[in-house]
């Protein structure tokens, strides 16, 4: 019988009573990690590529990266589409000041930059900033509130 099978047999039949301790656990774990590291290092050394292979791989990686970047940029440009006015395709912030966010000037710039959608975005933004938008309150709530 091989040593591995011996051990299996020993565990199954004899059912050993091993008393473990913190020191014993630590030693076992340390030995296991050391054995694992050795195995990994040995495997890495086996699979280490040769210098020409490294050069070829490096070129391929560079080419693949360049291709990804080119495809990415092309995709971005293709999906931008022409702006409403054809001046710029950017959806930049138009007016941040609450007092100016819905002026004719701000809305005109929003349109020039993003067409009708630009105006709609500006309106959305304004709704979050400008008021008043009270929560609903019923007559009953009003009267109850006034009593308290």
């Amino acid at each position: 019988m091989r040593p591995k099978e011996n051990i299996e047999e020993f565990v199954k039949v004899r059912k050993p009573h091993v008393t473990t301790s913190r020191e014993m656990d630590k030693r076992t774990l340390d030995d296991s990690f050391a054995a694992m590291e050795q195995t990994i290092l040995a495997k890495s050394a086996d699979h280490k590529p040769s210098t020409p292979r490294i050069i070829i791989l490096s070129r391929m990686i560079k080419l693949a990266a360049a291709a990804v970047i080119i495809v990415g940029i092309s995709f971005y440009i293709a999906h931008q589409g022409p702006s409403e006015q054809g001046i710029t395709t950017k959806f930049l912030e138009v007016a941040e000041s609450p007092s100016e966010i819905m002026t004719m000037k701000s809305l005109t710039i929003a349109y020039r930059r993003g067409g009708i959608e630009g105006i709609e975005n500006q309106c959305e933004k304004a709704l979050k900033i400008l008021g008043p938008q009270p929560a609903s309150i019923s007559l009953g709530d009003l009267f109850n509130g006034s009593k308290s």
Partner: protein, 395 residues
């Protein structure tokens, strides 16, 4: 005899006095005759929604999601605001009280609010349609159409917001009609209301008139700093030749630019006022626009026009697209009416229906498995496509 006459006269006077005193018309002041006053009240009467609810309402209005209990509850909480808007839409006159004398600094905050209100009403239309209340759903759609007319076309911005709202209304009515049984009374009512709305089309002509006046008033030497702030970095790049011209502008530069802009806008309006055929008008506007682009390379007087004048062909495209879409719905309603009367879709489009404005001809009608399609015969030259409108019929 004399006593009887006296008694009768007294009785008449007493009755008249009682009538006057008890008349409800005199009991309280009349309702506003300006729709804007009701809309403004409506804006402060709806429940504040968090971002998630706002998104859900918008998605429902656009037909992206089905109604759910949370949205229904929210819409119910906005009932006061919706009712005010429904009343406002029925008032013919609407004056938003915009302060045009502020020029480009004029506040137009009402547009954001009215747009939100339209989303609420369209969302409610879809809820009503889902619950089988098709007549009320159609009424809500009509309210939005009327509101878009109220938003108006006094400025290019308000014209564009109206167009955006109509787009929403178009998709909503197509979905409602697809689920509505062919009820002759409902359809005839819809047909008549749409005809009334179409009798006052949205036009960029009046918007251009206001735009021209506001911009000419701004195009003065004393406003040049503000103008440069708006244009440079906003519409033109800071390293552009136009930006440099603005930085070094003098009185003569401004005057020449005012003249150029004024003439350009007059030419634009001239072309539109003679507009008959879409293709010809588009070609003329394109030529005018191209000439400006050419001029600006060698004529500094065109600097402010190239930065401030609207894109002619695009604006004209919005107008034609908007009215053609409405015409398609009106023509479709006639087809639904034929179906309601005969039980069958017609083999060809009835005569004398609203037309495709890209070609000036009747829509091309084609029956499909689920209903029918109305296809334009002319191409939208700005979008480079032929529009088609699909309508489904409830089996």
């Amino acid at each position: 005899m004399k006593t009887t006459t006296k008694k009768l006269t007294t009785a008449t006077y007493v009755t008249l006095m009682l009538l006057m005193l008890t008349s409800p018309a005199l009991a309280y002041p009349p309702d506003p005759d300006n729709a804007a006053l009701l809309y403004y009240q409506s804006y402060i009467a709806y429940e504040k929604a968090d971002d998630t609810m706002q998104e859900m309402v918008a998605d429902l209005a656009m037909g992206k999601i089905e109604p759910n209990e949370r949205i229904k509850k929210y819409i119910e909480n906005c009932r006061g605001a919706i009712n005010l808007a429904l009343s406002a839409a029925e008032i013919p006159h609407c004056n938003w009280g915009l302060k045009y004398s502020d020029g480009l600094s004029m506040q137009m905050a009402h547009l954001g609010q009215v747009r939100k209100l339209n989303y609420l009403i369209i969302a409610e239309a879809r809820i009503l349609a889902a619950d089988g209340a098709n007549r009320q759903a159609i009424d809500r759609h009509l309210t939005v159409r009327k509101m878009s007319r109220h938003i108006g076309d006094e400025t290019i911005i308000s014209f564009l917001v109206s167009v955006a709202i109509n787009r929403l209304a178009d998709s909503c009515i197509r979905d409602i009609l697809a689920d509505t049984p062919q009820d002759l009374e409902i359809l005839t009512g819809l047909k008549n209301e749409l005809a009334l709305i179409a009798s006052r089309p949205l036009s960029i002509k009046s918007a251009l008139k206001t735009e021209k006046e506001v911009f000419l008033e701004t195009m003065r030497l004393e406003n040049l700093k503000e103008l440069a702030e708006m244009l440079v970095g906003g519409i033109i790049e800071s390293d552009d030749k136009e930006a440099e011209l603005l930085r070094t502008a003098d009185e003569s530069f401004v005057e020449k630019n005012r003249d150029y802009y004024s003439n350009y806008m007059d030419s634009f309006q001239g072309i539109l006022s003679k507009a008959i055929v879409y293709e010809t008008t588009y070609a003329k506007l394109k030529a005018l626009s191209d000439k400006l682009q050419k001029d600006v390379a060698e004529n500094p007087a065109a600097t402010l026009t190239v930065a401030m004048a609207p894109a002619l062909c695009k604006l004209y495209g919005h107008e034609v697209r908007n009215e053609t879409a409405l015409n398609a719905v009106r023509a479709a309603v006639e087809v639904y009416i034929v179906k309601a009367k005969t039980g069958q879709l017609p083999e060809k489009l009835p005569a004398g229906l609203p037309k495709d404005l890209f070609s000036g001809k009747d829509f091309k009608y084609e029956k499909t498995k689920d209903g029918f399609v109305l296809r334009c015969r002319g191409k939208d030259l700005e979008k480079d496509e032929i529009h088609q409108y699909e309508f489904k019929v409830k089996k």
